[in-house]
């Protein structure tokens, strides 16, 4: 189902700065410029030529608190030399990058722009980690939730304890996600944490909020990412300027979903079904409760319908999803329909989400069915909030272009014959989620 009157949108190029715990060597604007420079360099496009072609921008960052600087997206626009072109800033919690990507898509699909730059970043090191946790926890109801012990890891812990109760999910199954994502990151030079781990290592790490250990949780980062989106006409001008033709990677689906801010308010009703599911799959399951992300399911359903994805595990070559916690990766397998609700734990341990050809030190029966977070995800790459969803878009683009070996200097993470990928960006306790589908079309 293509949207009426909307134009096809190409993902042309992208860049990612090195994610690090702290980047005191630069203020935020030059960190974004690192990502922008990488995208231009990849195209072989000089700044002056690019500047002529870019019609406008979308700027993404999550929290004004982290920098104590308002209007920061305009400062980036300014530093990149893109004034006085139009720009708008978007904020969507943890899904800020995913939302920015879709706003860029809208700008091009609607005919407003032919070439749109989407940039995003976060510099979280400017406050102590525990202060950062406080800022993030302010994305929970400050009348009823935050004062009780505002801490996102605590919220996610409660959600997965219920998942364990409903479905029998185990901490060892969750730990498989940590082993997978950290091991994948050994082959990704952009990643912040590159570790060879075992399930036992994950469980032996300090407990943060039962049952989540430090190795079940992503870290805070400084970093930036950007993508360049274009219409057919825009792509033609970029190709002319770059002097070569570029691989066709098109956005074929976008979806968004929401849920009640307070977990306590989530209903206990019926499952929203994907095309390959039937009501009898979920007899007696109360949904979403606090164990599932209705927003993620809604976003997936819309994006799949638009892209014509009937059975995601068969129709997608890979998924980059928002694994802020190992538990939320397990829950998201289910929301995105890679397995049924309740099967996320066994799915994680089956190896289906692992890359083929990599030794994880685990016995995995279904290894390589549908690689999830081949890049290492948030857990290993880091989570500079406003950049995260764009980082996923860039890694997805490189997968579809087949250029992972060149960009990573290592072919291990390249998904073979990648034709269609999904990126999933997630905010709050599942309050806000975006899913976008990218496809190779030549």
């Amino acid at each position: 189902m293509a949207l009426k009157g909307m134009r096809p949108v190409h993902v042309v190029a992208g860049g990612v700065s090195k994610f690090a715990k702290a980047r005191p060597d630069r203020t935020f604007q030059p960190i974004v410029k690192e990502a922008f420079d990488e995208a231009l360099q990849d195209l072989g496009l000089e700044f002056g030529r690019a500047n002529e072609l870019i019609d406008g921008t979308v700027g993404c960052y999550f929290s004004d608190h982290f920098m104590r600087q308002l209007k920061a997206a305009t400062m980036v626009q300014d530093y990149l030399g893109l004034c006085p072109k139009p720009s708008h800033r978007v904020e969507g919690g943890g899904a800020t990058g995913g939302l920015g990507f879709q706003e860029g898509w809208k700008s091009v699909a609607s005919g407003l722009m032919d070439v749109c730059l989407v940039f995003g970043w976060e510099t979280m090191s400017h406050v102590q980690t525990w202060k950062g946790n406080e800022f993030i926890a302010l994305a929970s109801d400050v009348s009823f939730d935050y004062p009780v012990g505002g801490f996102y890891s605590g919220y996610y812990a409660m959600m997965v304890v219920r998942h364990m109760h409903e479905f029998g999910t185990t901490v060892e199954q969750m730990a498989h996600v940590s082993v997978k994502n950290h091991t994948n990151a050994l082959h990704n030079p952009y990643a912040q944490k590159r570790l060879k781990l075992s399930v036992a290592d994950v469980r032996a790490a300090p407990m943060v909020a039962y049952p989540l250990t430090r190795l079940d949780i992503c870290v805070m980062s400084d970093g930036a990412a950007c993508v360049l989106l274009a219409s057919e006409e825009g792509l033609a001008s970029i190709e002319k300027a770059a002097g070569r033709s570029l691989p066709r990677v098109v956005v074929t689906g976008v979806g968004r979903g929401t849920d009640a801010m307070r977990m306590a308010d989530r209903p206990h009703g019926e499952v929203i079904l994907l095309p390959h599911e039937k009501p009898s799959d979920y007899k007696g399951l109360k949904y979403p409760g606090v164990h599932s992300f209705r927003a993620g399911r809604m976003a997936s359903k819309q994006a799949y319908e638009m892209a014509g994805v009937k059975n995601p595990i068969k129709d997608l070559s890979f998924v980059e999803l928002h694994d802020a916690y190992t538990s939320s990766e397990v829950q998201t397998y289910e929301d995105m329909g890679l397995c049924r609700y309740g099967e996320g734990g066994p799915f994680a341990a089956s190896g289906k989400a692992f890359l083929p050809g990599i030794d994880y030190g685990l016995r995995l029966r279904g290894q390589g069915t549908i690689p999830v977070n081949p890049s290492g995800g948030l857990i290993a790459c880091g989570h500079p909030v406003g950049a995260t969803g764009l980082m996923q878009a860039v890694f997805a683009l490189w997968q579809l272009q087949g250029t992972i070996p060149r960009h990573f200097g290592d072919a291990a993470l390249q998904v073979k014959d990648a034709r269609r990928g999904a990126i999933h960006s997630h905010a709050g306790t599942g309050t806000y989620v975006t899913v976008s589908i990218l496809e190779r079309q030549d």
């Binding site: 525990w130 406080e134 039962y210 430090r214």
Partner: protein
């Protein structure tokens, strides 16, 4: 020493910041943030090194200063105020929709099912643990209280849940489905923690 609120040319740490920082993930306790200059320790710098050649400036390490920021927010509980007045009177209140009967264990004035305005109702003083966790770390504000246990409570006759602290239970004892009962702070602070739960003893 200069008074705290006075503007200073070189930032000094606040009293809070001068305490040993809590352990950060991936760093042993007391590890300073990378690249911190001595200015953060309150040293007055009389002479900043400066190269002969301006070209060499690109190699200098960054200057890092502290910028304290404190603000009191005037927060109104607005339409939810009766809930907090209830806690001060040892009453646990929820809301119920007069049209569809949907009952909210965390109050909301507008029914999310049918859009009607809800009415205040008393909730039972006992409920069951719907889910739980014990936090061994937390946000800065709650670090001194770690470890603490959080629960979502389900009540007979309510359609939604209530987030609260569980007190008086060892982490290993907490179970989904466990019976808990409400207790109230003697002196209300007008926070949702004016009510907390304890295991229901037979």
């Amino acid at each position: 020493m200069a008074r705290r609120r006075q503007p200073r040319r070189i930032a000094r740490p606040t009293r809070r910041a001068r305490r040993a920082p809590p352990a950060r993930p991936g760093a042993p306790a007391g590890t300073p943030a990378p690249g911190r200059a001595e200015t953060l320790e309150g040293t007055v710098v009389f002479r900043v090194p400066f190269p002969e050649q301006l070209d060499d400036l690109k190699g200098m390490s960054p200057i890092i200063v502290k910028q304290p920021y404190h603000i009191d927010y005037v927060h109104s509980f607005g339409q939810d105020s009766p809930f907090f007045a209830g806690l001060a009177n040892r009453r646990l209140l929820g809301t119920r929709c007069p049209r569809c009967d949907y009952t909210y264990a965390t109050p909301r004035l507008s029914c999310m099912v049918c859009g009607s305005e809800t009415d205040w109702v008393d909730l039972p003083k006992t409920g069951r643990v719907h889910t739980f966790t014990t936090c061994y770390f937390g946000s800065e504000e709650f670090l001194p209280e770690c470890p603490f246990s959080l629960i979502l409570v389900e009540f007979e006759g309510a359609d939604t849940l209530f987030l609260a602290r569980l007190v008086g239970a060892q982490p290993k004892e907490i179970r989904v489905g466990m019976e808990v009962e409400a207790r109230f702070l003697r002196n209300a602070k007008f926070k949702p923690t004016d009510v907390y739960f304890v295991p229901r003893r037979p």
